[in-house]
């Protein structure tokens, strides 16, 4: 059930670009998370990561990024993110409270940042 809902919002930017309003573009949400899956593909790339709350509860989040083609131009590749990688994810979270964010930036343990160019999406 949760997966279907996640994808419903996730799929919004592919063709239904009105879906960009699904994300809160007024503020950025930051998480420290552990990668569980990385789907490097068209039309959208997904990084799925676990976030451990203060109470120890683990939540699954999906960070959505532009297409494989767009991201490879920004230096991403298939092997960029591996399960177990601990990274900081910055993005616009879904307004509904669903655990999806439109990724704006990924920060690596060494402090290096990958800023995601969202000028591929018109509903900016």
């Amino acid at each position: 059930m949760a997966l279907v809902i996640c994808v419903a919002l996730l799929s919004a930017p592919a063709f239904a670009h009105h879906g960009a309003s699904v994300y809160d573009s007024t503020k950025l949400t930051t998480f420290k998370g552990t990668v569980t899956e990385f789907h490097f593909m068209n039309p959208h790339t997904e990084i799925i990561f676990d976030v451990t709350g203060a109470d120890g509860k683990v939540d699954k989040w999906t960070g959505e990024a532009p297409s494989l083609t767009a991201m490879s131009r920004l230096g991403w590749s298939k092997g960029m993110f591996k399960p177990g990688d601990q990274l900081t994810f910055v993005g616009n979270a879904a307004k509904s409270g669903s655990h999806i964010m439109r990724l704006r930036k990924v920060v690596f343990p060494n402090g290096k940042e990958s800023v995601i160019d969202r000028s591929e999406d018109y509903a900016e």
Binding site: A16, H17, N42, P43, H44, S72, Y122
Partner: protein, 266 residues
């Protein structure tokens, strides 16, 4: 590199494929001249629609800058108005839900011209080969042959998705003249319609090393009471190659979105 090989193979295949059509024409227009003078201007390169605002007059949306032909609404005939109302896009200011959209792009129909430039605002590549300018679209790997060997349009062109294109140089500007369209495409992402009488003229000019401008004029008296179009600015992307974009890859998202539409997120 691979795409250049593909482009040359496609060009070769096109030359072979053109031969059977020759008997219908009194003039041998299918064979491309092996030698032709070099073009007066070099438009070659990978170009991507600029996201930079053309002026500081107001804020421009990315949709206006890269996904639209113009911000002005064209003057439509009653025939076109009816079609426009019936066309339901899935993106842009007139967008409806995916399950309600009848955009032919969603079934991966060819985008036609000028929509091939606009669908996902992805880059194009321009390459010169003798007797023609090749325009390759990252969007679903479409290739346009713009014949610059002096040939006219065929007397009775076959209606095709992408039309028949010929190019003439006006100084350093390539003037591309395209007709012979079927009426199955939308002109743009907003769903502006056209008839088989569509005639598109593009004036393509490299204003400086890193900038290309394309001025598009649409003429279709059945659909529009006067010509209209837009001015587009493209940035050179010297370190880009066209990537692979396969329209059918969008199916996964469409299927999932169709199933989930209408469900309230938790």
């Amino acid at each position: 590199m691979f795409l250049r090989v593909v482009a040359v193979m496609l060009a070769g295949a096109a030359m072979l494929a053109a031969a059977p059509a020759a008997p219908a024409q009194t003039k041998k227009t299918s064979a491309v001249k092996a030698q032709s003078p070099p073009p007066p201007a070099d438009l070659s390169g990978v170009w991507r629609r600029s996201r930079r605002a053309p002026d500081k007059a107001r804020k421009y949306t990315i949709y206006e800058l890269a996904f639209a032909l113009t911000s002005e609404e064209p003057s439509m005939t009653p025939w076109a108005e009816a079609k426009f109302k019936a066309n339901k896009p899935n993106i842009g200011p007139r967008s409806v839900a995916l399950s309600e959209s009848n955009d032919p792009i969603l079934k991966c129909a060819p985008p036609g011209i000028p929509r091939a430039y606009l669908v996902r605002a992805e880059p194009i590549e321009i390459a010169n080969i003798p007797g023609r300018v090749l325009m390759i679209f990252e969007y679903d790997h479409f290739v346009r042959n713009i014949f610059t060997d002096g040939r006219p349009h065929p007397g009775d062109p076959n209606p095709t998705w992408m039309g028949d294109s010929i190019g003439k140089w006006d100084g350093d500007t390539l003037v591309v003249d395209t007709l012979g369209f079927n009426d199955k495409t939308w002109l743009d992402n907003d769903g502006h319609p056209h008839s088989e009488d569509l005639h598109v003229v593009e004036r393509i000019r490299r204003v400086n090393h890193d900038t290309l401008t394309i001025d598009t004029t649409i003429e279709d008296p059945k659909a529009y009471t006067k010509p209209w179009g837009g001015h587009a600015i493209y940035d050179l992307k010297p370190d880009w190659n066209l990537g692979e974009m396969v329209c059918e890859d969008n199916d996964t998202y469409q299927d999932m979105q169709q199933k989930s539409e209408g469900k309230a997120p938790q």
